[in-house]
């Protein structure tokens, strides 16, 4: 079998760049997931729906005649309050419960959100045209849409801001303390209830930013949230909780891996390849852990 990617070497550059850029957007969503998973021990199945919701905010700016790029500013603000609202309504009742309960609860939120969005925004696939143009490189053989580049930069900047905020601010310290030991934090005067609400809000805001980017780079539809949930879940599983650089690396790595498998194995196998990689990583981890525990016996 002859691989097109080796016949046209520029495709390697193209694949790698496409993968990196997509990976960065997914990494931002994954970072939100890692954050609230680490702090509240909740796996949020509705993560993808938060992304799509954020996307629709950017889309409606576009419909109203405002450039959708402003969505990356407005969307996180609105989505923060949406996140806090969801926390107050549902999540606060499942925070200390079994992981299974939280999965069920957020699964419910996800179905409800899909139906509500479908009801409110309609079932048409929509796009917000950014009109950013295209970056041509290497004598036009590698192209990178500026909308993707813009989205990736926005995601990187927001991730940096967030890290700084978590390190420097009072709330950031409280969130980190709660993640380490909620009871101890509570005894030391941290209002964990508020911290939880803020954490979920920040997660939703991150999804909002990513959503606005998705609206400009891809397409929006009320039912397309699930891939974002699954992808961010995978990134977090691979990177581990509370490890931002690892989340970024695993996000980009997965993106590149996916693009390369598209060229090497064929488009129909790109998703399968990513999932096989996940299985391999999990099995490998399990062996590593088992070896570590041996001396405990």
């Amino acid at each position: 079998m002859d691989f097109l990617i080796f016949q046209a070497p520029m495709l390697m550059v193209q694949a790698t760049m496409d993968g990196l850029v997509i990976g960065i957007i997914f990494a931002l969503v994954a970072y939100g997931m890692a954050l609230q998973w680490g702090v509240m021990n909740i796996i949020n199945i509705a993560q993808g729906e938060l992304v799509i919701m954020g996307g629709y905010i950017a889309y409606f700016l576009y419909v109203a005649g405002i450039h959708p790029a402003f969505g990356v500013l407005l969307s996180p603000i609105i989505m923060f309050f949406v996140g806090v609202g969801i926390y107050k309504l549902v999540i606060n009742k499942v925070v200390d419960r079994d992981l299974f309960i939280s999965i069920l609860a957020t699964f419910g939120i996800s179905i409800l959100a899909q139906q509500l969005m479908n009801f409110a925004f309609g079932a048409d696939v929509v796009v917000a045209d950014s009109g950013f143009g295209t970056l041509m490189m290497f004598d036009n053989s590698v192209v990178l849409p500026m909308s993707k580049l813009f989205s990736a930069s926005v995601c990187i900047i927001s991730a940096i801001i967030l890290v700084a905020y978590m390190k420097r601010s009072k709330l950031g310290r409280a969130i980190r303390a709660t993640a380490q030991n909620a009871r101890a934090a509570k005894i030391l005067g941290v209002d964990t209830e508020k911290v939880y609400a803020a954490t979920f809000g920040i997660n939703a805001a991150l999804c909002g930013i990513a959503g606005a980017c998705v609206a400009m780079t891809f397409t929006l539809h009320p039912y397309t949230g699930l891939p974002y949930t699954i992808r961010s879940f995978m990134i977090v599983i691979i990177a581990g909780l509370g490890n931002l650089p690892a989340v970024a690396v695993s996000g980009m790595g997965l993106g590149v891996f996916e693009e390369w498998s598209d060229y090497l194995l064929g488009t129909e196998f790109r998703i399968a390849a990513v999932f096989s990689l996940l299985v391999i990583i999990l099995v490998w981890r399990r062996f590593k852990l088992a070896r570590k525990r041996e001396y405990l016996k």
């Binding site: 097109l4 016949q7 046209a8 520029m10 495709l11 193209q14 694949a15 496409d18 997509i22 139906q115 479908n118 009801f119 309609g122 079932a123 048409d124 696939v125 929509v126 796009v127 045209d129 295209t134 041509m136 036009n140 053989s141 192209v143 849409p145 909308s147 891809f218 397409t219 539809h221 009320p222 039912y223 397309t224 699930l226 891939p227 693009e259 598209d262 060229y263 064929g266 488009t267 129909e268 790109r270 998703i271």
Partner: protein, 414 residues
């Protein structure tokens, strides 16, 4: 708690009683009304096309009823449709088919939206020997199962885009062409793919890219980069509305120059409205277009249908609505020719259908698919400043209202 239980049980029995009682009050024909059953997607991912389907049905019912209805054994009957919402879920659609037949006593069915849901309902209607005229399930596998009670007014999926290959070959001076294709992995798109494979074989053309897009994919950058590298003569894409929108968006962003781009689902995706000039020159497969010159006694012709539909529902009818309206015309015709309400006789009359509607000629093959109506291809053509884009029929030549622009001008000149 005990009290609550009692209330619950009595409520349940009351409910069952009502259901049992009402089920006998419905029948296939009530007084002067012929009752048809339909499960359409009013919620869920197919809801916009589900609504188009329902609007198409309703417009036809209204029209037929207002023009005297259906004449059987010298008496005039009116159409009435019982609708249920199948939530775009095939399991639910099959359940509702059972319910329509067993509880509501419906004896004649109209199809749901999409091949997948039609596939779920067809075994049920077949089991009860209920004739179903469907207008929105084009998948080839619907017509190879030997169903006797299923009739589709639309052309099967494998005929959607093979016209484009023929057109490309014709433009290439009759010489074989290089084809790149990207199809979503669902029943419908894969059937479209089979049609292209046949067309490629027939014209001795070569398929150089054959990508199967995962359902959740919203990024075609990899496929398009390949297209850019190998330079095919024609690029064929089918992935419902999401596929059409993604393809046009990314082809424009990545400045992919390909002489001919052919797709499905352009009008459902409102391509020309959402993408404007970026969508220009794209070729789109369509079951129907308002400018086609078919006529009938009820809707007159495509242009009149378009105007009437716009007046009734406030938007231009996509072909999904037109074909749904045609399904009712077929039923009316079959009832009158059978001159009876017996389902078997109606079925036999349906099988012998040979008529022209505003939507096209309808004549069913053995499998139940409509073989006498070709697909049309239209091309998105914009005015000079790109403020207004229109769909113009370019093939088959018999109905062409505009000349095909070929090859597509390169992005550097657009």
């Amino acid at each position: 708690m005990n009290n609550f239980k009692k209330i619950f049980i009595s409520f349940l029995s009351a409910l069952i009683l009502t259901v049992v009682n009402t089920s006998s009050s419905f029948a296939k024909v009530e007084g002067d009304t012929i009752v048809l059953g339909a499960a359409v997607s009013l919620t869920g991912k197919y809801s916009s096309n589900g609504v188009h389907t329902q609007n198409g049905y309703n417009l036809a019912v209204e029209r037929i009823n207002s023009m005297g209805g259906v004449k059987v054994k010298g008496k005039n009957y009116k159409f009435k449709i019982i609708y249920y919402d199948d939530e775009s879920n095939s399991g639910r659609a099959a359940q509702l088919a059972e319910r329509l037949i067993k509880q509501d006593g419906v004896q004649y069915m109209l199809g749901p939206y999409s091949s997948g849901l039609t596939k779920a309902m067809a075994p049920v209607t077949e089991k009860y020997k209920i004739p179903m005229v469907e207008a929105n399930g084009a998948s080839r596998s619907l017509f190879t199962k030997g169903y006797k009670y299923l009739f589709a007014v639309l052309a099967p999926a494998n005929l959607y885009l093979d016209v484009a290959v023929d057109l490309a070959v014709e433009k290439n001076g009759g010489k074989p062409v290089k084809i790149a294709m990207a199809f979503e992995q669902d029943a419908f798109s894969q059937d479209v793919r089979l049609g292209i494979l046949d067309a490629a074989k027939r014209t001795k053309s070569k398929i150089i890219i054959d990508d199967k897009l995962p359902k959740e994919l919203n990024d075609m950058a990899a496929t398009l980069a390949k297209v850019k590298a190998v330079k095919p003569d024609v690029l064929v894409v089918s992935g419902h509305t999401k596929g059409a929108l993604t393809a046009v968006k990314q082809i424009a962003e990545m400045k992919v120059d390909v002489p001919m781009l052919a797709m499905t689902h352009c009008d459902a995706a409102k391509l020309s409205k959402q993408h404007g000039k970026k969508a220009e020159y794209a070729l789109c497969a369509s079951q129907w277009h308002k400018t086609l010159s078919y006529t009938d006694a009820f809707f007159k012709d495509g242009m009149t249908y378009d105007a009437d539909f716009k007046k009734a529902f406030g938007y231009a009818p996509p072909y999904q609505a037109a074909e749904s309206s045609a399904a009712l015309l077929v039923f009316k015709d079959a009832f009158e020719r059978a001159n009876d309400f017996n389902t078997k006789k109606v079925r036999n009359a349906l099988a012998k259908t040979d008529m022209q509607t505003f939507y096209g000629n309808i004549k069913f093959a053995k499998g139940g698919q409509n073989v006498s109506k070709p697909m049309v291809l239209f091309q998105v053509i914009c005015n000079a400043d790109g403020s207004k884009c229109e769909n113009k029929v370019v093939a088959p030549t018999k109905w062409a209202s505009a000349k095909l622009v070929h090859p597509t001008p390169s992005w550097s000149k657009r």
